[in-house]
């Protein structure tokens, strides 16, 4: 494989991987969102007691964390696409991409703490 000296450093890395990853993560997010939405809809008046008990279960923590992992990957690909489409100067684009990754990683770490606090 030949790699030219003018290869785009902030591109999509010419791959199918992210495209597919975005769709797989989308399915995970959709299933979780619909399931949680239906639960809230059918549960009626949700007080703290029941809400916290739901998230206290280990399976729910794991399911939520996996979904959040899918969310961060999904959001990264989506935001990267936006920066690639609308921000043309490479330096600004790279800076925004780095900020996006940092923001998402910070959210990831924080969400783990939130999930395991209950």
């Amino acid at each position: 494989m030949s790699i030219g000296s003018k290869r785009l450093v902030v591109g999509a890395h010419y791959g199918l991987r992210d495209w597919l990853g975005q769709r797989v993560s989308a399915v995970i997010l959709g299933v979780y969102a619909i399931a949680l939405g239906l639960y809230v809809l059918l549960a009626g008046d949700l007080g703290y007691e029941r809400w916290a008990r739901l998230f206290a279960a280990s399976w729910m923590k794991v399911a939520t964390l996996l979904t959040l992992a899918a969310l961060f990957y999904h959001a990264w690909i989506g935001m990267r696409d936006l920066w690639m489409d609308y921000i043309k100067p490479v330096g600004v684009r790279l800076a925004l991409q780095v900020l996006t990754v940092l923001y998402l990683l910070a959210c990831a770490v924080w969400s783990v703490q939130v999930l395991w606090s209950v």
């Binding site: 703290y48 989506g78 936006l82 969400s111």
Partner: protein, 137 residues
């Protein structure tokens, strides 16, 4: 004579500039597409807020009460409605895109109808959520 033969000039768009957006009649699939991006970006920006709300709802009975009190302000309700719309549009449009990826409904007519279907599903549900949030029922 030439004026008779000359076809009526239709507006031509290549790379649309921001100032041309108002005059450009975007077809329904295009509306779904740009709103998919806007809703996604909105949820990305508000992600930290959502995690904080989750924290409030889970941390303790006291923080749960704080969240309830916070949610009683009309402008907070407005943010919740915006988030609900973003999620619903992104979800329903996303399902449409997954179907398109499977080569279902890629023809012009079908794509236009499914784009309208996205709005027909996401907007009424958003309205219901909004009415619920503002305590109408």
């Amino acid at each position: 004579m030439s004026t008779v033969l000359q076809e009526k000039k239709r507006p031509e768009f290549r790379n649309i500039h921001v100032t041309q957006i108002v005059g450009y009649r975007l077809p329904a699939p295009g509306m779904v597409s740009i709103l998919h991006r806007i809703s996604g970006a909105l949820m990305f920006l508000l992600l930290a807020l959502v995690i904080w709300l989750l924290q409030l709802s889970l941390a303790s009975e006291l923080s749960f009460m704080r969240l309830k009190e916070l949610a009683s302000h009309w402008w907070v309700k407005l943010v919740f409605v915006a988030l609900a719309w973003a999620l619903l549009h992104h979800l329903v449009a996303g399902i449409r895109y997954l179907l398109l990826d499977l080569h279902l409904g890629v023809e012009k007519r079908a794509a236009n109808r499914s784009a309208l279907a996205v709005f027909a599903v996401s907007l009424p549900i958003t309205l219901l959520v909004a009415l619920r949030i503002f305590g109408v029922f």
